[in-house]
């Protein structure tokens, strides 16, 4: 069943990503990305990261992508024009992408045995649930980064407000 889930949602991911690539209207791309994220949330869940799955849905799909959609609506972005700004992007970038994907695939397949297998559900051997483990680590060992992150968010909010505010 794990494999089935993986294939279903993996294919969904890739399809969504490709749709993002091929759709010319940004809103379609955005929705494709939402699909990718939802599918990824499921894959997280299959890897035993329930909390992340929920967070993925809430943060990514529910907040970030909504924000994107919002901006698209606000700016009334239309279909993108086919301009040629850069040849380098195609002549250098595409082979580079191909190289990356080929190499990574090769490496991962090469190391397949060493990497091991995923078990559906809880990945942690400990009896404590995933979410309490996360919170324990987050609020003990990594308290400082956590707090710093909250400052980061605060700064980002202020920055966004300042940037987006119309000049008086």
């Amino acid at each position: 069943m794990a494999l089935a889930l993986f294939i279903i949602f993996g294919v969904l991911c890739v399809a969504g990503a490709l749709n993002l690539l091929f759709q010319r209207h940004p809103i379609n791309s955005a929705l494709s990305l939402v699909v990718v994220m939802m599918a990824l949330a499921v894959i997280y869940w299959t890897l035993g990261a329930e909390f992340l799955a929920a967070a993925q849905v809430i943060v990514y799909s529910g907040a970030i992508m909504v924000l994107f959609t919002f901006v698209i609506m606000l700016l009334n972005a239309g279909e993108e024009e086919r301009t040629t700004g850069s040849k380098a992007a195609y002549f250098v970038g595409i082979p580079g992408v191909a190289g990356i994907i080929a190499l990574l695939t090769y490496i991962f397949l090469h190391e397949k045995a060493a990497l091991g297998y995923a078990r559906l559900g809880g990945s942690l051997d400990t009896a404590t649930s995933n979410i309490s483990e996360i919170s324990r680590v987050l609020f003990t060992d990594l308290l400082l980064p956590f707090e710093v992150t909250s400052i980061l968010i605060l700064v980002a909010i202020l920055g966004a407000v300042v940037l987006a505010r119309r000049e008086q």
């Binding site: 069943m1 929705l31 849905v57 529910g62 909504v66």
Partner: protein, 352 residues
């Protein structure tokens, strides 16, 4: 059914559960509409629907048939795929949340809990997540309609939903802190000890949290007094101006389904869910089926009370102005929710 493996059995029972719950929910949706019309009618000193069937009980059926049979208009300027898909998103999101709600005491058949479709250890987060996805339905519908009233309505709606989601989420933290879990069953169980007295709203001292939740929930569902996205006087009908027939029906159903979901959550989190207000006082009495049905009864009763409250509020309070709405959400509810969290955690730390 010996030939069925555990897995297949699980599949079959689950599917069955889904179908039953869906049917009941949709019916409930339909009759909530009727209820609303009746109650408002009574409040406004008139009868409400009374012609179709006894006491107008068949009115929802008639409405349904009407909506199904109406011509499905497709305006020319719309973004066709999105226009079509957004009501579906809205309805689906509204309905899916029910899946994690435990509407009765634990009762297993072949190892499967029959009073809850899915028992997930992050049930509360799932509800929040699905609620947040629901925004897409509104946002996309408004935008794809290619109509400025729709767009404004949807922008209002989604901004409102996103804004109040924060207060909503934070208002629940107190409850989660008290239960120590995000699983809805655990939350319910944490309130089951002494009936009414151990409900979160009373025993858990979450009355502030409850009221924040209540406000936020009204805003989330775009209900009065926060129904600005559908303010007829300003925006015709808001984001579903261009919709008709079945697609309109979906939005309509989504709204009421959302009401039900929110009421369920309120029940679960603050009013002890499917537990009896009298605690375990009458557990021993009565036959076994009674102990199975009574929790469901209590649950449905509580949800009904909330729905009634919804309707009551709608017919009583006037609509907010938009800036008041935002100010109320950001400047009042959000800080209050935070204070509530702090107070709760301090209290818990003090006791613990």
């Amino acid at each position: 059914m010996p030939q069925l493996s555990d897995f297949h059995l699980f599949l079959v029972i689950t599917l069955l559960k889904i179908v039953v719950v869906l049917v009941i929910t949709l019916t409930a949706v339909a009759y909530t509409v009727l209820l609303e019309r009746k109650v408002i009618g009574r409040i406004q000193n008139r009868w409400g629907p009374s012609r179709v069937g006894p006491f107008g009980l068949l009115q929802p059926l008639a409405d349904g048939i009407k909506l199904f049979l109406k011509e499905d208009l497709m305006p020319l300027a719309v973004e066709r795929p999105l226009f079509v898909i957004s009501p579906m998103i809205a309805l689906a999101c509204a309905l899916v949340s029910i899946a994690v709600v435990p509407f009765g005491a634990v009762h297993t058949v072949h190892g499967v809990d029959i009073f809850q479709i899915a028992d997930i250890n992050i049930g509360l987060l799932v509800i929040l997540g699905i609620t947040s996805i629901g925004v897409y339905g509104i946002a996309l519908s408004g935008w794809s309609s290619n109509n400025k009233y729709s767009l404004l309505g949807s922008l209002r709606a989604s901004a409102q939903v996103i804004s109040y989601e924060l207060a909503l989420g934070l208002s629940l933290v107190g409850v989660v802190l008290r239960a120590g879990s995000l699983r809805l069953r655990d939350i319910v169980d944490s309130q089951s000890a002494h009936g009414l007295l151990s409900w979160n709203i009373i025993g858990g001292l979450q009355i502030v949290g409850f009221f924040i939740y209540l406000m936020a929930a009204y805003a989330e569902t775009n209900r009065a007094p926060f129904d600005l996205p559908e303010a007829e006087s300003e925006l015709v009908a808001g984001y579903h101006t261009e919709y008709s027939s079945m697609k309109f029906a979906m939005f309509f159903m989504a709204e009421y389904a959302n009401m039900i979901t929110v009421s369920c959550v309120a029940t679960l989190l603050f009013f002890g869910g499917a537990t009896s207000p009298f605690g375990h006082m009458f557990d021993a009495t009565g036959p076994a089926w009674l102990s199975m049905v009574m929790p469901v009864f209590w649950f449905v009763f509580k949800v009904f009370c909330f729905l009634f409250l919804y309707i009551w509020v709608r017919s009583t309070l006037p609509r907010f102005r938009y800036d008041q709405l935002m100010a109320f959400g950001w400047k009042f509810l959000l800080p209050l929710a935070m204070l509530n969290i702090i107070a709760t955690s301090l209290a818990l730390a003090y006791h613990g």
